[in-house]
């Protein structure tokens, strides 16, 4: 399985990947993008199975990345990992086709609980 991690913080991308390795989904390869615009290129080029994206990023926000993908007919599995946790944000994510939203900070357990249903 190939997972694309999208976050403008290099440290956070590292933590996301490290945490994923502590879950049942440890047999994956990770690729990284710094923002939504870069993610679109990576998705076209590498065709990942799952996108884990931050919400607030320069260039293109996570929600705009998701809208862009869905508008282009791409139904790739997509989840947010963000410090945004308000009901409005959750609803916007869901309405636009996100499978889940994990709030930072997270644990391997919270990751697994969110991702497992999306990959079922």
């Amino acid at each position: 399985m190939k997972i694309l991690v999208v976050d403008d913080s290099k440290a956070m991308r590292m933590i996301v990947i490290r945490t994923l390795k502590q879950t049942a989904f440890s047999g994956f390869s990770a690729i990284e993008a710094n923002n939504g615009a870069e993610a679109i290129q990576m998705i076209a080029e590498h065709k990942p199975d799952l996108v884990l994206s931050d919400w607030n990023m320069p260039e293109m926000k996570g929600i705009d990345l998701l809208k862009n993908l869905r508008a282009a007919g791409n139904n790739i599995r997509f989840g947010f990992i963000t410090s945004e946790s308000s009901p409005e944000v959750r609803k916007e994510a869901e309405d636009n086709g996100a499978a889940f939203l994990v709030t930072k900070p997270f644990t391997p357990n919270s990751f697994e609980a969110a991702i497992a249903p999306a990959l079922a």
């Binding site: 607030n56 410090s83 409005e88």
Partner: protein
Amino acid sequence: MSDQILPTLDNVQKLMQCLLGNGVQAKQSVTGPDTSKPYVLASYVDENDRIRRVLTCDLGLANSLGAAISMIPAGLATDSTKAGSVPDNIKLNLHEVLNICVNLFTEVSRERLTLKDMKVCAAGEAAPAVSQSIKFSVQIPKYSGGVMLTGSV
């Protein structure tokens, strides 16, 4: 809506442990960052772009948080604190930590807040006036740690 607007010790301990490991110890503190020395100020705004909360931390904690999250050597954090600075690589990480720290406020008040700005303030630079505040000391294994203040504006 709850009347509580500032984080509890439990909130701080849980968030820091979740980010940096179970060895992190937080305690409530009588004193906050000494603003006669350089310190870091994070401002959190509501949907109308009004500053509603602030978090300040001394350079010891700022450098420790920014370094520990991506395992930058503790020596660099300590040397930077002694020099009264926060290097760019630690600053980038610290911004992410303080971005996540918004949950210290939103968990208790359920308001929608976002990190607006993070800056390293010079010695003696006035911090925003706060109507309420709670101070904590945070110790991170292998790093020096320090003190922080959470306040409502």
